[in-house]
Amino acid sequence: MRLSALIATIAAIIPLIALIYFVIVRAIPWLDAELFVNNPLDKPSGISNAIFGSLQLTTAAILAVSPIGVLAAIYLNEYASPRVASWSELVIDVMLGVPSIVVGMFAFMVVVPQLGVSAGSGVVAIGILMLPIVVRTTQEVLRLVPSSVREASLALGVPVWKTVIFVVCRTAFSGILTAVILAYSRGLGETAPLLLTVRGTFAQNWLDFGTTMNALPLTIYSYSGAADSRTLGQAWAAALLLMVLALALNIVVRARTVNSRVA
């Protein structure tokens, strides 16, 4: 039993190690400053359009979604009747489970006709995928705030809304930030919805959400079938960057969760 379990564990770890090894080994030769400053339209030595495109798309989406998601979580946790809360939570759980290609399809059919194939449509699609993550994680964090903290504030003659903002949210602030970072890291890697809404471009796009933009997942998708070694190498480099970014954010989340004062 013990031996077979050990073998299973090794079998589970090998693909992960292999993946990390391959990405690093293949990407390293192509990692240089030019990768970050040039875009393929000007010079073929860089993928800055994808790197900064990804950051712009995900940042725009998180900026749009965080306030909505956090407020929704506050409503569900602090104000909603148990019935409303449980129904809404069911809907949010379903949203969490919707495959991203379905969200992409929805954005393609409903949003693209309005906003065109553009970064804007991509932001909407990624936002839809991030929203339930923000809501659910924030809710979990708010739930960790002991009711004794709420009671202490109410008993001081502090109105409910001030208790919620200045006491409950303040106590949970670190955790709420963690929820937002988690959603950001998930948004970074989304590919399917971007394929259907943004499609990608060789040009560098700065903050023009009305036209198309590029993103790391799109670069990986379109470059990974290439025949020339540089384009292929850039696909690996894009993969490494994406992996490092997501990993870094997850490490931040982990560190924050461990140090969280709410627990």
Partner: protein, 292 residues
């Protein structure tokens, strides 16, 4: 106001205690001819959780600037009744209150009374010390004022010092006001919570078993504090510890449970009388430790 005199209490703290046995309802009636002279007056108060009646028809009067202890077996509605007195009971879902709760003659549950205002006048200290975890000692003390809209830094600082001094914790924390409130020991945290409560200048301070989570030394300190605070505040304290009730209170109210598990007031009298010569045999049985 009746004549007060300074006496030494059993804990050795100089404090003022009324000469009359204010607690005895009859005697109190003579001392205070008009009802508004009572800090609190309850007429047939009932409290519910959903359809369950936790407190049944309690009527009692509490004299200003006195310490009243609520004692009785577990589940007899003492804490629930305490939470009725500052409208904290209604913050739990499905709860309701019936009857009249008069604060200085004004019905706390009147249509024009804002529960937020009621809680400002009637502060509360909880069973478990509950300082705000992300706030410093200083921020904890002034939290009620700051959230109530006080901006002036000098005012906040002076109130913080006065409140911490009154709560007998100033000397222990004056050099670390900006450390987290949760870094203090349990007893210090509870005194911090008391400072936080009196910082908003309530008329009445409710204490729900404030020492049950504390060690004997910390308990002694809080008890001394209760006696000192009674000079300025009306205090109602729920306790399971009968020695504590006899040490700190002027008046004791004994509660019990009826067949429907609803808590009711058995009797209320001067503490010395309750503990030596109670009217009801039920009280005597409880004091003697025969049940509860």
């Amino acid at each position: 106001m009746p004549s007060d005199e300074s006496i030494k209490t059993s804990t050795g703290v100089t404090t003022s205690r009324r000469t009359e046995p204010v607690s005895a309802e009859k005697a109190a009636d003579d001392a205070y001819p008009t009802s508004s002279k009572y800090a609190l007056e309850l007429n047939n108060v009932e409290a519910f959780y959903g359809t369950f009646r936790a407190v049944a028809g309690v009527s009692l009067k509490i004299a200003p600037k006195s310490v009243t202890a609520f004692i009785g077996p577990s589940g007899c509605g003492k804490s629930t009744l305490l939470r009725v007195l500052n409208r904290m009971h209604e913050t739990l879902p499905g709860t309701s209150v019936k009857g009249q709760t008069l604060l200085d003659g004004v019905d706390l549950y009147g249509p024009k009374v804002d529960p937020v205002r009621a809680r400002r006048l009637v502060g509360m200290v909880f069973q478990k010390p509950n300082p705000f975890p992300t706030m410093s000692i200083f921020e904890n003390v002034i939290s009620g004022l700051r959230l109530g809209g006080v901006r002036s830094k000098s005012e906040l600082e002076s109130v913080a010092e006065t409140s911490l001094r009154k709560a007998a914790i100033w000397d222990e924390v004056k050099d670390k006001l900006h450390q987290p409130g949760t870094s203090l020991s349990g007893g210090q945290q509870q005194r911090l919570c008391i400072a936080r409560t009196i910082a908003v200048k309530p008329e009445i301070v409710l204490m729900d078993e404030p020492c049950s989570a504390l060690d004997p030394l910390a308990t002694l300190k809080v008890e001394e504090l209760v006696r000192e605070l009674a000079v300025d505040y009306t205090i109602v304290i729920v306790t399971h510890n009968m020695q504590q009730a006899s040490r700190v209170s002027d008046t004791t109210a004994f509660f019990s449970m009826d067949e429907q598990r609803a808590g009711y007031l058995v009797e209320m009298d001067a503490t010395s009388k309750i503990f030596t010569n109670p009217k009801e045999s039920l009280t005597e049985g409880y004091i003697a430790g025969r049940f509860g």
